[in-house]
């Protein structure tokens, strides 16, 4: 893999130039009390003081509300206005942690399974992902247990690793990454050969996700196990909404008078209405079943059907959870039991 070096000043120039060239630059920004991915208009808005952002980077390719098409009713006639693919901007997504970057792999598996979701794929195609290796971690991080690592390049087009002097090691992962580097080649200098590993956060691998994969199917029928696992779970959608790999969605119409549009918006398997039939029947009527769906989906269905794990070990869901449903702990209890 080709390595280069980007000084902190060049990094600033790069971002400033990207903004100047009408790229949509999305970066971690400290807004109010938290740090999240936002569209920026200047380099100074960027912060690097985070372990992970509150929400995942998936919003760039899979925004929480996506207008699918417009329609208009006039004099009893209906016309449709297709999605304007040209409106999708060229984007650069910066400061993406390796776990988040890897999440796009899972998302793409879903959106390209069978019918290809052109809206998603176009958005992702037009986005260059500049990852940033982790130099710190917390109790929630468990990427190393989920086949990731603080310096993993998977999913990023370019991965930056910040050095102690404030400059960055640049690893060019994909062609898209290479193109971006080529476009701004004057800003990148030759790699100084710094030891990347020593710059990375240490995340202990407390379990192996393979063990979870191996065990979880046999647990399906153990209703008592899931009930007890989910006792604390209050059934909100926070975990799914912040998750970099959760792709479940709802389709809704919004209208005012005769005009309106159809929207795809995030949904969560934790919510009881998710699977409720109009008849009142609910295949997953209690929280245990819904929690099981969440874990099975990530650690059984996706590996089985899409050949990818539905969890990247970012720990966001556990951080966001109002009742501290720590997914790593639950994984371990699956292995233990």
């Amino acid at each position: 893999m080709e390595r280069k070096l980007l000084t902190k000043d060049s990094y600033r120039s790069l971002i400033t130039k990207l903004i100047g060239q009408n790229y949509q630059v999305v970066a971690p920004v400290k807004k109010d009390t938290m740090i999240d991915f936002l569209k920026i208009s200047s380099f100074d808005e960027i912060t690097e003081d985070y372990i992970v952002t509150v929400s995942s980077a998936k919003t760039v390719a899979f925004p929480r509300n996506e207008k699918l098409f417009d329609y208009e009713k006039q004099n009893k006639k209906l016309t449709q206005q297709d999605y304007d693919f040209d409106s999708i901007p060229q984007s650069v997504l910066i400061g993406v942690r390796p776990c988040d970057a890897f999440g796009f792999h899972s998302l793409s598996s879903i959106f390209c399974w069978d019918s290809i979701d052109k809206i998603y794929t176009t958005r992702l195609e037009r986005t260059t992902i500049i990852g940033l290796s982790c130099n710190k971690a917390d109790d929630y991080c468990f990427c190393t247990s989920a086949k990731g690592s603080p310096g993993s390049t998977a999913g990023s087009d370019i991965l930056l690793t910040k050095m102690t002097d404030g400059n960055y090691i640049v690893e060019i992962v994909t062609e898209k990454g290479a193109k971006l580097v080529a476009d701004f080649s004057d800003l990148f200098t030759a790699d100084g050969g710094a030891d990347k590993e020593s710059l990375l956060a240490k995340v202990a691998a407390n379990f192996s996700v393979d063990d979870v994969l191996a065990k979880i199917n046999s647990k399906f029928e153990d209703e008592a196990f899931w009930t007890e696992q989910a006792m604390r779970c209050i059934g909100c959608g926070a975990c799914a909404y912040v998750c970099p790999t959760c792709a479940c969605f709802d389709i809704q119409d919004e209208s005012h008078g005769g005009k309106g549009h159809r929207v795809r918006c995030w949904d969560s398997c934790g919510l009881s209405l998710f699977t409720l039939h109009t008849s009142g029947h609910n295949p997953r009527e209690n929280q245990g079943q819904r929690w099981r769906q969440r874990l099975m989906h990530k650690f059984s269905y996706m590996p089985d059907r899409l050949n990818t794990i539905g969890c990247v070990g970012c720990g966001r869901c556990s951080r966001a959870c109002p009742v501290d449903m720590n997914i790593a702990e639950h994984c371990m209890s699956i292995i233990e039991n």
Binding site: Q80, S115, D117, C248, D250, D253, T275, T278, Q289
Partner: protein, 279 residues
């Protein structure tokens, strides 16, 4: 494939509306854009997403047979928001349709076999497609028996088609209504579908049973079929889980790792038995 927005429905015009039972309507839909019609094909058992602009989408099967060209039909009961809006529409109105989605009844494999259709209530529509498909290819099959029951006489859907089937010499039709649901001039059976099925004691040999109905009916029908000697792989049904997308992305119709929208909605009893109890 990647050239289109998979969420954008075909526009279809309601060509004909018939009221089949209280709150139950059937729409015959025609493509507004002839190109769409030309590119469109489906097979029996498949479903689609029907939508009313400003209200939303709803999932139901295509109730007409692929052998009847130029239109599709759908039958629905007014229950939720979308079906309520749909039932307010009239001939000439435009609705959206996405599909077809899902797998199909393997009617090619059924060639030369007897067919036993068992349906209850509003679950006849998914069956109707396959029934007509098979009737239109009548020579491929041996005996065709249809057992259909509803809560009351009024609740029987497709009444004129029932009459047509009844009159056909190559179809055996048994209709039944739940006790209390009969009228004074009712000539059919009275009793729940499984009870009548038990009474009919169908022969399992070289016979495919296709069962569609409310969960409670299905629950009591399978054991009777088993009793009659039907092997699990000879029995078919369709599942109707809640769906949004229809193509395996929205994440709610799965039964264990089986996606009803992709692997189904048609399942053999054998497949069903391997699936967890999550439908």
């Amino acid at each position: 494939m990647e050239t289109q927005n998979i969420y954008l429905p075909y526009l279809m015009q309601i060509d004909k509306v018939s009221e089949d039972a209280p709150f139950v309507k059937t729409f015959r839909l025609k493509f507004i854009n002839p190109e769409d019609e030309a590119n469109f094909s489906f097979q029996t058992g498949q479903f689609g997403e029907y939508s009313v602009a400003g209200v939303g989408e709803s999932t139901f099967c295509i109730a007409s047979s692929p052998t009847r060209k130029g239109y599709i039909e759908c039958t629905f009961r007014k229950a939720g928001r979308v079906t309520t809006a749909l039932s307010d529409l009239e001939e000439g109105n435009t609705i959206g349709f996405r599909g077809p989605y899902g797998n199909v009844f393997p009617i090619d494999e059924w060639k030369g076999k007897n067919l036993l259709f068992i349906a209850g209530g509003i679950a006849l529509p998914p069956m109707r497609s396959v029934i007509w498909n098979c009737l239109d290819l009548r020579e491929n099959f041996k005996d065709i028996t249809i057992l259909y029951g509803a809560k009351s006489v009024a609740d029987l859907v497709y009444k004129h088609e029932l009459r047509e089937w009844d009159e056909r010499p190559d179809v055996k039709l048994v209709t039944t209504v739940d006790p209390g649901g009969e009228t004074h001039d009712w000539t059919g059976e009275v009793g729940f579908v499984p009870t009548i099925l038990d009474k009919m004691a169908p022969k399992a040999e070289n016979t495919i049973a296709i069962v569609c109905g409310p969960p409670i009916m299905i629950k009591y029908t399978f054991p009777i079929l088993e009793k009659c000697g039907f092997a699990d792989e000879m029995v078919y049904t369709t599942l109707e889980n809640r769906m949004k997308c229809g193509f395996g992305k929205c994440g709610r119709c799965n039964v264990g790792k089986t996606y009803v929208c992709k692997d189904g909605p048609v399942f053999s009893l054998k497949q069903l038995k391997q699936m967890p109890d999550e439908y």
